[in-house]
Symmetry: C2
Subunit: 398 residues, 2 copies
Amino acid sequence: MAGEQSTGTFVRVAGETDELRERFGARIESLVELGEAAAPSLPGAWTPEAGAAPRRTAEVTLSWPLHNFGPSLPNLLATVAGNLWELKPFSGMRLLDLTLPPEFLARYRGPQFGIAGTRRLTAVEGRPLIGTIVKPSVGLSPAATAQRVAEIAAAGIDFVKDDELQADGPHCPFEERLRAVMAVLDRHADRTGMRVMYAINITGDLDEMLRRHEQVAAAGNTCVMVSLNSVGLPALAALRAQCQVAIHGHRNGWGLLGRSPAIGMSFIAWQKLWRLAGIDHVHVNGLRNKFCESDESVIASARECLTPMFPAPHPGCEVMPVFSSGQSALQAPDTYRALGSLDLIHACGGGIMGHPGGIAAGVSSLRQGWEAAVAGIPLDDYARGHLELAQTLAAFGR
Amino acid sequence: MAGEQSTGTFVRVAGETDELRERFGARIESLVELGEAAAPSLPGAWTPEAGAAPRRTAEVTLSWPLHNFGPSLPNLLATVAGNLWELKPFSGMRLLDLTLPPEFLARYRGPQFGIAGTRRLTAVEGRPLIGTIVKPSVGLSPAATAQRVAEIAAAGIDFVKDDELQADGPHCPFEERLRAVMAVLDRHADRTGMRVMYAINITGDLDEMLRRHEQVAAAGNTCVMVSLNSVGLPALAALRAQCQVAIHGHRNGWGLLGRSPAIGMSFIAWQKLWRLAGIDHVHVNGLRNKFCESDESVIASARECLTPMFPAPHPGCEVMPVFSSGQSALQAPDTYRALGSLDLIHACGGGIMGHPGGIAAGVSSLRQGWEAAVAGIPLDDYARGHLELAQTLAAFGR
């Protein structure tokens, strides 16, 4: 692993001197054996000629000299997530974490708004941002989208986002949708003084994303959404270099990288790349979600978003975790207890849009859920004086 | 699968009318059941409440209306390779193929040089391009790289490439390497009339790649190499829009997407995305390679590169497959027999650089191997009148 991804190849070649290996070879910092595996995790692995030799598993920490590739995320990827996955001696491999030196901050900008900036843009303090998603995912016209957003804004929401399937389809062109929704949100801001943050999906080719971002900023919106895995790190970094608004990172496609125990990457490693490249928010799934992820994994992901990537005095590049998927006020206390922070966006679809009292009641129930969480009062108790929370418990409770 | 990735979500929401589903829903074109699975392939899958309900497997063909997302590769990805991977009802899923309508050609340029253009740039006809890789991967200075390339060029090679680990490290800066290598290749061209194609690795952030491409074109080189998975489709498309030389697509990182039978993407599907975005060559591994891939899979990949993506009169976007990894003249006959084409780059490291007669003998042995392959003469027979091939057989033969 160390050899193939630094100076070496399958065999030692002419010119790979000891001095060159010393200066450019990857180092094994630690290697903790984790026991033997009964069978290879993936096909194609080399089988020892001896036949019955044991198949060992281990957690390995490697380090590379920065001068091998410089502080470049794409070239870092070629090193730590390149040919490695296809090596025959391994029948399974996951990238568990990455520690990057602060030199990367000379080339990448990190989050522009992050947690404090997102709070400033939305004027929400002392509680999570309460958010929701425009549904149906696909099929609403710009006017119908704006109508849906008008209802959502009137309900007192802090944050609303497009679905990742909705970017610039011919039935809902980006510019028309932006115009229609901003007219609604401007009216709402005039009326209430509150600027709802709209994570409008600008995912596309780079020229499209840059043009759409200009239009978003010119329209006075405060956020753009990007499907990270669909666009890649260089496009995100290029957007960040010109960006005037918060970047809401959607992680769709993540399962392909993260779901298999036999091959892939941890969210811990993955999100560091994107934070450095410049996102301000990133999806982490939610407790008791409708996807396949455990609660422990969700909380570990969210906690990592709030943990500095670099030691002081360097910026920590913290970003706001976005909890979503099957969320309602019911998850507020457990989320708060497990995360120990209010710095998150709680994005609830059904929990708000499907609330029996309507959308405004849905938003109220979320605020009440978080009030209870912060006060340490059980939801059932707090619901006695709070109708909308009581309705959530009745409708969605266990 | 069809619902979640089009109009639907976990539950039917208000506004998801029958008319909307009819216009925007994904369709199941076919569903072929493949039997039951004894156990879930991946963790996190939903377990039927009933307990012992069978876990079924199937090959499914879905279609989406183009107006859901328009001819946009990033938004296509969010649809066919997005949240799907995390859905609880599935305990495993692979994207096997993609058929795209020609409307995508209005937005993407496809290969600029492809097979015919690569042959024109190198003046190689009637046989594969013979290539090799600069090794050691990491650690050579620009001067040492140029010295290595000088030896390789003098040996009569058609094509030489950087290692994917070598892009712009501080010890081998891109501009210096380009300058040093081009001085060598220019002298070689002056002497011989032959322009060796040098796939210089420009992988980096977008501004870097565009600047490096300009320098490469200005220096008179005919090719740039990009680590595709490290940069993403929008960055590649942005490069292609300005590109004046052939784009050599390196697939490092591919194993993460392709190696697991439980989750991921076939090379067949993956390479279509990149061909449309504009690569001219793409790595397919090689027969009897040192990685974990079977020969059948390698040939299926290569054959796909030569198969039109769109029906005439649209361009087929064919690209040159690059065979590499443990290659020498030994694989020429089997490769030719299985592929039925000479349109490929045969990139041999040890088979050329480690040839007992030296590099020039290594290149000669490759040409002889392909002569034998085309003539249908067994290598052992052809080796009788061809010393360099005989040396290959003696050194690397079974």
